[in-house]
């Protein structure tokens, strides 16, 4: 097993690429009672068109299949549901689907290996029938309605619409009532056989484990599967500009909510970790708690609390989103625009930059408090080809000059968008 280490925070991780192509990451945490395992496939809502490696058949699937498959995988031929079985062991089990991956997980203190039996059994044994697929449509239909009533979700989807003309990130993860009505067992099996091949999967485990021993236990439970070639995924061409600068809808909210975005045209570069750190430092300087802009907006009553600010990226999309609540979203956007312009014009203030760096460093260290946060982070980063420790280890390479470059390249006025949900 390959050992990677962060001496600064005294953490280690062991990584093994198995013969069948699956990657296993083990992060030992000898002091903790909790254990966390997450098994993910690189298949998310954006993967709606692909070529099956074995047959060379091009497949176009309805929106929401990855998420639907996630729900259905729990169902067993004997009528039991694996989620129930895991819960019956006293484990906290769950699954989720994102834009670029689907993951199955549980957290526990006891019965880890019993849980591993069940997890590795159900993920490797799909069981889809006409009847059980039909039944799920009712449950997922309710889930979709729940999201439709969620102003923050609509806000996010509209922000994506502003940013991209044609990009699968615009697809609702759960699909629509209409799109899921087209899902059949055949579609689910095609996707399963393509994306749930070990070569497309990563497992991350965190807790008090002896790595070699755990690896042996994992290997024992793997069903032998044929090696499959690379999955070719077909996405629309990358766009050089935004779709539209503004979108607004009305819903039942007391205070308008907003999402301000910068589309990052350049996207994932070779030094993506450094770029990501730089963006986080910049966001803290632009609209973080100690920023001049936040202070002014808070004092004028235009902001209630610090907006959330994130950089979301994969090979297919990259953007910054700053979202919050305000009675005056336009003013927030202008203030951010002005702050960025000022930093570009005058350069970054040395003292403020160093302070922000310290804060972001602290934030990264705190991530290592919780087994779930650690395992999820290693999985999500690895899906993008990133070693999570790089956020700590490469920290010192993020200089003021480098950060200023990122500022100029990413925070461009012409790539700015805003989505607003107003009250009725």
């Amino acid at each position: 097993m390959q050992l990677i280490e962060s001496l600064k925070i005294k953490e280690k991780a062991y990584i093994e690429k198995l013969d069948n192509g699956m990657t296993v990451i083990i992060i030992p945490k000898p002091n903790l009672d909790k254990k966390y395992i997450i098994w993910g496939t690189n298949f998310g809502s954006i993967d709606n068109r692909f070529i099956m490696p074995k047959t060379n058949e091009e497949v176009f699937i309805p929106d929401g299949v990855a998420h639907f498959l996630e729900h259905k995988l729990f169902e067993q031929p004997d009528g039991t549901n694996s989620l129930d079985t895991l819960m019956a062991l006293g484990l906290d089990a769950n699954a989720y689907t994102t834009n670029d991956h689907t993951a199955y997980l549980f957290e526990c203190t006891n019965n880890f290996y019993e849980g591993l039996d069940e997890l590795m059994d159900y993920v490797q044994h799909p069981y889809f029938t006409d009847e059980n697929v039909e039944k799920e449509k009712g449950i997922i239909g309710q889930e979709i309605k729940m999201y439709d009533d969620e102003p923050s979700w609509r806000l996010y989807m509209n922000a994506m619409d502003c940013m991209y003309k044609e990009n699968p990130i615009k697809i609702d993860i759960a699909g629509s009532v209409e799109s899921i009505s087209k899902i059949t067992p055949d579609i689910l099996y095609k996707c399963y056989n393509t994306f749930y091949n070990p070569s497309n999967m990563i497992m991350a485990v965190c807790g008090a484990f002896e790595p070699e021993e755990l690896l042996k236990e994992i290997k024992k439970r793997l069903v032998p599967k044929e090696e499959q070639g690379k999955i070719e995924r077909i996405y629309p061409a990358k766009e050089k500009e935004i779709n539209k600068p503004y979108k607004e809808i009305a819903m039942e909210v007391s205070t308008p909510i907003f999402a301000i975005g910068y589309k990052d045209i350049e996207g994932m570069t070779a030094d993506i970790v450094k770029k990501h750190i730089a963006i986080e430092i910049l966001l803290n300087m632009i609209i973080g708690k100690s920023s001049k802009t936040y202070k002014e907006l808070y004092e004028s009553g235009d902001l209630l609390s610090k907006p959330d600010a994130d950089y979301e990226f994969s090979k297919e999309y990259a953007h910054i989103l700053i979202s919050g609540k305000s009675n005056n979203p336009i003013k927030i956007k202008e203030s951010i625009e002005n702050a960025v312009e000022e930093y570009i014009k005058n350069g970054l203030d040395e003292e403020q930059f160093n302070r922000s760096r310290k804060k972001i460093y602290g934030d990264y260290v705190v991530e290592y408090n919780n087994v779930g946060d650690i395992a999820r982070m290693f999985l999500a980063d690895r899906m993008k080809g990133i070693n999570s420790f790089d956020y700590i280890e490469k920290f010192n390479e993020v200089t003021k000059e480098f950060t200023e470059e990122v500022l100029k390249n990413v925070f461009k006025k012409e790539n700015m968008i805003m989505s607003v949900v107003k009250g009725n």
Partner: protein, 422 residues
């Protein structure tokens, strides 16, 4: 968990949790007073004003700069209802000195900053700074009004309000907009002084720090030295009087696509052990994916995406919550009632009981893996005036018998049915 507590002054207690499981140390101060209509808005407002500035660090952005310098230490405050108490909570979390790139006395800085924010607010003209009071009033107004934004949370809040109408626990923790008008920098400051003098103060430190040094840092702090001894004014939790009335049904209309159904149940507690029985009862009814509600309302009938229940130990109540298709209201309600009836009849298996006990045990064992959960656990014991270790708690849960569950089911009644629809 290595836990010790020490009353450093009458009514002011220092709790210390020694743990090496985290990269951070967590410092917390809780100030508790009885919930009451007269003061509920004031408590919320004072909490918000305190974070704005101290006599040493006069504004929030300066506080935030200081926090960033301390490797992104994070300060947070909030207000909660715990039983019939209104608790103002202040937290500071910072990286343990061991993991800093350079050596620094971070612990001392944290303790001093936290106490400075709570006990040494910026004062001008015998009152809080007017600008801060006005700003926070506006913010609080928005927070109170934004109650409707999250329909799920709103529905639960409304059900609690109806269930505890005219009782302390029915109060909204952020207070009421109509109170704000009468509050001035001066009368609020006067109220704050009273609050600090009579409230129950609990200080928590969790992390890997030498105990003696912590005690010294706290005791030697100027703000702590200034605190008066007090007979703390708070309500011991776990003592609830219940008058069983008829079931109330409330229906409210809003522009929603999904209906939110919340049912409040009253658990009639017999003795101290009832809390263990009730938690097992709740786990079987709606605790997880194996529960009757999840299985029958969601899985078998496909009526809902969310279906479950939560047990609020401090108030001996259980809340059932479902997000359902509006047209399915009757059907969902009947399915839920059927599950309650099944509980009364003992229509559940030994396996259900065992699974539920495991579920609860897991969550109790897990408490020590989260720094704030551990503090919250110790604090709820403190307010209940008892101390049950995590092990004793698990033992209590494991002793629960089927007969006790059936008996409790027959002493559990629907108090309020709340439905939010279009």
């Amino acid at each position: 968990m290595q836990y010790t507590k020490n009353e450093i002054k009458k009514g002011v207690t220092l709790h210390y949790i020694n743990t090496n499981k985290f990269k951070t140390n967590l410092y917390a101060v809780f100030l508790a007073v009885p919930l009451d209509r007269k003061n509920v808005t004031k408590n919320a407002l004072v909490t918000a004003i305190l974070r704005r500035g101290t006599n040493n660090i006069k504004s929030q952005d300066l506080i935030n700069m200081k926090l960033e310098e301390m490797y992104g230490a994070s300060f947070d405050c909030g207000i909660e209802k715990t039983g019939d108490n209104h608790v103002m909570k202040f937290y500071l979390e910072a990286v343990n000195e061991e993991f800093l790139p350079e050596k620094e006395e971070l612990t001392k800085k944290c303790i001093n900053l936290l106490f400075d924010i709570i006990f040494n607010p910026l004062i001008e003209n015998n009152g809080f700074k007017k600008e801060y009071v006005d700003g926070e009033k506006e913010h609080l107004k928005q927070i109170i009004e934004s109650k409707i934004d999250n329909k799920r949370a709103y529905s639960l809040e409304r059900c609690i309000e109806e269930m505890f109408k005219d009782k302390p626990y029915g109060l909204y923790r952020y207070g009421y907009v109509e109170d704000l008008e009468t509050l001035t920098p001066q009368n609020l400051y006067e109220y704050y002084i009273d609050l600090i003098n009579r409230g129950k103060i609990d200080i928590f430190v969790s992390g890997e720090i030498e105990k003696g040094s912590i005690e010294n840092l706290v005791k030697e702090n100027e703000e702590i030295k200034k605190l008066k001894e007090r007979i703390a004014d708070y309500k011991i939790i776990g003592v609830n009087e219940k008058n069983i009335e008829e079931t109330k049904t409330i229906e409210e209309h809003m522009q929603v696509g999904q209906g939110n159904l919340v049912i409040g149940l009253n658990v009639n507690k017999k003795d101290q052990n009832s809390k263990f029985v009730a938690s097992v009862y709740n786990a079987i009814l709606g605790g997880g994916a194996n529960s009757k509600l999840f299985q029958n309302v969601r899985e078998k009938e496909s009526l809902a995406y969310t279906a479950g229940s939560t047990y609020k130990k401090q108030k001996d109540t259980i809340f059932i919550r479902c997000g359902i298709e509006i047209a399915n209201y009757e059907k969902a309600l009947n399915t839920i009632k059927k599950q309650l009836e099944d509980m009364k009849q003992g229509n559940f298996t030994d396996e259900d009981i065992e699974n539920s006990k495991k579920l609860i045990t897991e969550s109790i064992v897990g408490i020590s893996s989260e720094q704030d959960a551990e503090i919250t656990y110790c604090y709820s014991q403190e307010l209940a005036n008892e101390f049950i270790t995590l092990e004793e708690y698990i033992e209590g849960v494991n002793k629960v018998s089927k007969e006790e569950i059936i008996d409790l089911a027959n002493n559990t009644l629907i108090d309020t049915i709340y439905f939010l629809r279009d």
